[in-house]
């Protein structure tokens, strides 16, 4: 929920309302931004906030949607005031509610970090001697927003890159994934197969498979194979072998069958048909998942080669699968280049 208004807000009233509206909520994290009196050596008596009607709401809605996709939150509320505000007045409220506190903390931080860099508001300070000065962007803010993309391990062309200056001088780019930094991640030219393992799902109701297909397309890759199989090793192994050996698939993403349940056999099936493992990829996936939910460490997925085809086991939940893919997507082109005999760039 996004509100832009001149009127003040009450933190307590908003929190009460959000908690009462949803009995599944167990944790609430709120950020309140207020008007500070001292900026450097200037004594501020008031500020004036203007915004771009239409675009500001759209930017905030995009940030909310991104936070909802990434974190298991119940509700996100942003109230941002505009107009003339005095010292110590409320400026902005960001509230995230969730069943568990980790998501609430992360989502609240994510939203304010991105608001600071993308949301089209501009602050003018009015000092006690009547002078006015427009505030420059905060130098730490762009780094803070970029950090979220680095944590996801994705170096794709982010809207942040588009918000870079269009006038002189050339600025140093933030926002590149660890160890990368030479332009956007692209899976261009990569033929990908998505294999969903589930005793209950069909291709018509394959949420995580669909979400992965969307993610691969967004990375520039091509999904040439999709299938859903029950949790039975022989059929899984046969499918992996066919896709890698006959169907020219460069990367196979499996989703499901990676938990501790007795029918979860995806890692064993993968290991049986592959020759070389990449334990670091699986560890990166588990580490990324841990940022969201502790039970992420229970996923037993592996990443391994069958010849030059990379197989990556992803969790079965839609959010887990996409989040895990994002954690390693930037490394895949590099891995495949090396598997085909190319050295480190």
């Amino acid at each position: 929920m996004i509100h832009i208004q001149e009127a003040d807000f009450s933190l307590q009233a908003e929190v009460d309302r959000l908690v009462r509206a949803d009995t599944g909520v167990g944790g609430v994290v709120a950020f309140v931004g207020t008007v500070r009196e001292l900026t450097g050596d200037r004594r501020v008596s008031a500020i004036h906030l203007e915004y771009y009607p239409g675009m500001t709401e759209a930017e905030l809605e995009k940030i909310e949607a991104a936070a909802r996709a990434r974190f298991e939150v119940a509700e996100i509320l942003v109230i941002h005031r505009v107009g003339r505000l005095a010292v110590s007045d409320n400026i902005v409220l960001v509230v995230a509610t969730a069943p568990h506190r980790a998501a609430a903390f992360e989502a609240c931080r994510y939203v304010i970090d991105h608001l600071k860099v993308f949301a089209t508001f501009w602050k003018k300070e009015i000092t006690s001697d009547g002078r006015t000065e427009w505030i420059d962007s905060c130098p730490g803010c762009e780094a803070a927003a970029s950090r979220w993309e680095e944590l996801a391990g994705v170096a794709h062309t982010h809207p942040h890159d588009r918000a870079m200056a269009v006038t002189a001088p050339k600025r140093h780019h933030h926002g590149h994934g660890p160890g990368q930094g030479h332009g956007p991640v692209t899976w261009a030219g990569l033929r990908v197969g998505i294999l969903t393992l589930s005793d209950s799902r069909t291709l018509a109701e394959d949420g995580s498979g669909d979400a992965l297909e969307g993610a691969v397309l967004a990375l520039g890759g091509k999904v040439t194979r999709r299938a859903v199989l029950p949790d039975e090793r022989p059929a899984i192994q046969a499918m992996l072998v066919q896709w890698a050996d006959q169907d020219g698939i460069g990367a196979i993403l499996t989703t499901g069958g990676t938990g501790p349940g007795p029918r979860d056999v995806t890692p064993e099936a993968t290991r049986a048909v592959c020759d070389r493992e990449l334990p670091g990829i699986a560890e990166l996936i588990r580490t990324a998942g841990l940022q969201q939910v502790r039970s992420a460490v229970l996923t037993r997925g592996i990443a391994a080669f069958r010849g030059a085809t990379l197989v990556i086991n992803l969790p079965g939940s839609t959010r887990g699968a996409v989040h895990s893919l994002e954690a390693v997507a930037d490394l895949v082109p590099h891995i495949l280049a090396m598997a085909h005999g190319g050295g480190h760039p």
């Binding site: 906030l49 089209t120 501009w122 602050k123 427009w134 269009v166």
Partner: protein, 83 residues
């Protein structure tokens, strides 16, 4: 025609919050539009120079080489400072 919106100190230096201008056929990118606006002389040449300006096309953050076309809404503003 394109509609151009100005915000914050850009608006103050231009002296107006918005204007509509015809889009010359040779102007096809954000950078080209800024050059064209500056070429009109004062106050645009002063207002649209330096200061790490940002641009949005149809309410989406844009980069220098992004296209602009007839009918677009283009906003020019300093780095944002909300929150």
């Amino acid at each position: 025609m394109v509609r151009i919106l100005y915000f914050a100190w850009v608006r103050e230096r231009i002296g107006a919050g918005d204007e509509s201008i015809p889009l010359p056929p040779e102007v096809t990118t954000v950078a080209g539009l800024l050059d064209h606006l500056r070429s009109r002389g004062a106050p645009h040449d002063q207002a649209l120079t330096g200061g790490h300006l940002r641009v949005a096309v149809n309410q989406v953050h844009a980069a220098a080489m992004d296209p602009v076309a007839d009918g677009d809404e283009i906003a020019i503003f300093p780095p944002v400072s909300g929150g």
